[in-house]
């Protein structure tokens, strides 16, 4: 094992001094002077001497020092990679990217960066908190919703009828989402006593009813002389017996046009019945019955019991909703 190798190994072990003296030995072995080397490397003799003394701080900068070590060892046919490894060990890599000490001195670490784990995690927690709050709020909304959506079915509306009595009616009926399902009790009434009276429908308030349906001024117009004159539109709360099956039987004494609809608006019967015939219809209450010629109608039976209604229509047309409300 040669002297140089021994020296080199020691340096590697202690890692304190760069084996610059090896360059001198190698140079002298090859019979080169400092000037020869300087000419070959295009460097000044001063730099070569600094290099051979290992005084790298006398060279322009560490990058160049490393480069000169590389060129010099290459020129002397020495193991370039070994010297570079030694140099890097002693003075650190010269390149900017792998110089962590450079960063600490520049103080760049003091400023929190976006990629900082703390910021990263707190951002995650913040996002999760927002998500949790949203879910919680949504749950609350969900919890409240059924109460609202159920209410139309269960909520009752107090309806004051014409005669002053108070009816309690499911508002869903009074409401009437569409005109066909909405019960439109239009009953022609002739007051028995013949007095003429006008009642404002506002008295029979149906708070949630569609304005088109409620706006009608219920007028009870009757007179003794002009029977069937009175055309009363009474906004009446419908029956609580929705959807129950009822059977209707009508007898006719003469030819009469008749139409029967159930509460969903489905037409059960719509035709002209000859005199002496009977109409038997069953459907879901309340049934809307339209009789074209009331004089031709004999009797109307609902579930077997006779229905009394006002036959005093001037035009002979009678509209009924069965079963009738009181």
């Amino acid at each position: 094992m040669s002297n140089e190798q021994l020296l080199g190994q020691e340096t590697e072990e202690y890692g304190q001094v760069f084996p610059a003296a090896e360059f001198v030995t190698a140079r002298e072995q090859q019979g080169l002077s400092v000037d020869d080397v300087a000419r070959e490397l295009k460097l000044s003799g001063k730099y070569i001497e600094s290099l051979e003394r290992g005084a790298f701080d006398e060279l322009p900068s560490m990058v160049f020092a490393r480069g000169y070590v590389q060129s010099y060892s290459k020129l002397l046919n020495l193991d370039v990679s070994r010297y570079l490894a030694l140099f890097d060990n002693l003075y650190g890599s010269t390149s900017a990217g792998n110089a962590p000490q450079f960063r600490t001195t520049s103080g760049a670490q003091s400023t929190a960066k976006l990629g900082d784990p703390v910021i990263k995690w707190s951002a995650w927690i913040f996002v999760l908190a927002i998500v949790a709050a949203t879910v919680w709020w949504w749950k609350i909304q969900q919890g409240a919703d059924p109460a609202i959506s159920l209410s139309p079915a269960t909520e009752s509306v107090e309806v004051e009828s014409v005669d002053g009595s108070t009816l309690i009616v499911p508002s869903g009926l009074a409401h009437g989402n569409d005109n066909q399902t909405a019960p439109q009790p239009e009953i022609n009434l002739v007051a028995s006593d013949g007095t003429e009276l006008t009642a404002d429908a506002a008295n029979s308030e149906v708070p949630e009813a569609d304005s088109a349906e409620t706006s009608s001024d219920a007028s009870i117009d009757s007179s003794v002389e002009t029977q069937a004159e009175a055309e009363v539109q009474q906004e009446e709360a419908p029956q609580p017996v929705i959807g129950t099956d009822v059977s209707l039987r009508i007898t006719f004494t003469d030819e009469c046009w008749v139409s029967v609809e159930d509460h969903t608006g489905k037409v059960l019967e719509m035709r002209v019945k000859p005199g002496g015939s009977e109409l038997n219809v069953s459907g879901e209450a309340p049934l809307k019955l339209l009789l074209g010629r009331v004089e031709a109608v004999g009797n109307v039976f609902l579930n077997g019991s006779a229905v009394e209604f006002n036959r005093g229509s001037r035009s002979g047309v009678v509209r009924l909703t069965l079963p009738q409300s009181e």
Binding site: K42, S44, S61, V63, L84
Partner: protein, 347 residues
């Protein structure tokens, strides 16, 4: 707003979008990605849809070996974008690869290195494609500046430093002093031209055709820029043009040196002209300290020797020359919030 939130989960990146290789340096980490700038595109059977088949190393293996429906392309040419959409896809792929399996799509701040003599249009294209790849903010830095910082040169001193960055597509020569570029030149000669030179030489002298990948392998294994005492040899197989049959032949390093003469002399010429244009004070600084070589081209054997002989100046090769630009960009990124703005160009 959402981009900002995503930004919290992204690291700042410095990208060396090179003709041959793309390198990504993650702030406060190191080089995390070093892959060839190659994208393989698969065309569906009806020809309507194009999908990315592979990016990077996988795609490079496909170069010159693809069936009809796959094309492996290099979206960068001469240091600038040749295919905008493919570059965008490639960047997108690399950025998400760097971030690993992130829950959110990353939206990092990105610093991209551009050739110093690229036009405004070319810079804009690079910026737009980085934006399209999901970057939150894009900064541009001139390549030789990044290379000098990456090599560890004292760029902030009132001393001239000369850096020659030999990339795949371009060679950037710059003289830097006080954080600024005093003189810069970019020649569109680089590693690719070396490969082309080898292909041309072999076709002319051996009557055989070899691919770019083989040419690159020859360059890396036996390529030299200056005559050496020992001669290296390599066995190569190429298609004989006359017979149309693959033939094997042996090349030596002196032949390759001859093949590389044309691009090498172009580089030497531009180094010389840079020195001619250089202010005398800086020229004396450079004469005293020397020229620093960076970039993949600096790995060509004895290139430092050639330039040193031609110019009469000391020439050193930077530590890890391939990654200098990306590391320098990363260093600039670390200083971005403080005082690196003078290093960057904002368009």
């Amino acid at each position: 707003m959402f981009k900002k939130i995503r930004g919290l989960f992204s690291s700042d990146l410095s990208i060396d979008l090179g003709t041959a290789n793309t390198l990504i340096y993650v702030r406060d980490k190191d080089i995390v990605l070093n892959e060839p700038s190659v994208v393989a595109i698969r065309q569906s059977s009806n020809g309507a849809q194009k999908t990315v088949a592979a990016v990077g190393t996988d795609a490079k293996r496909m170069l010159g070996r693809t069936p009809g429906n796959i094309t492996a392309i290099r979206p960068m040419k001469d240091g600038v974008i040749a295919d905008f959409h493919v570059t965008e896809k490639m960047l997108q792929h690399f950025i998400s690869k760097v971030h690993g399996n992130s829950f959110l799509t990353p939206s990092p701040r990105v610093l991209v290195c551009v050739p110093c003599q690229s036009t405004q249009v070319e810079r804009r294209a690079i910026k737009e494609s980085a934006m399209g790849a999901g970057a939150r903010e894009v900064y541009l830095i001139e390549e030789p500046m990044a290379a000098a910082i990456g090599a560890g040169l004292p760029v902030d001193e009132a001393n001239g430093s000369m850096v020659v960055d030999i990339g795949g597509g371009t060679t950037e020569i710059a003289i830097i002093s006080l954080n600024g570029i005093v003189y810069a030149e970019s020649v569109r000669v680089g590693g690719d031209r070396f490969d082309e030179g080898i292909v041309t030489y072999i076709r002319r002298n051996y009557g055989s055709l070899i691919g770019d990948a083989t040419a690159e392998r020859i360059k890396q294994e036996i390529g030299t820029a200056y005559p050496t005492a020992e001669t290296l040899e390599i066995d190569v197989r190429g298609r004989n043009l006359a017979e149309g049959i693959p033939r094997s032949f042996t090349l030596n390093s002196n032949e390759i040196m001859e093949a590389l003469q044309e691009p090498l002399s172009a580089i030497v010429q531009s180094v010389k002209s840079a020195l001619e244009q250089c202010p005398p004070e800086l020229a004396s600084d450079i004469a005293e300290r020397g020229i620093v070589l960076t970039g993949g081209g600096a790995l060509l054997r004895n290139l430092d020797k050639l330039i040193s002989e031609e110019t009469g100046l000391p020439v050193i090769v930077a530590d890890d020359p391939l990654t200098c630009v990306a590391r320098g960009g990363g260093r600039a990124l670390e200083l971005l919030d403080k005082h690196a703005f003078e290093l960057l160009t904002f368009e």
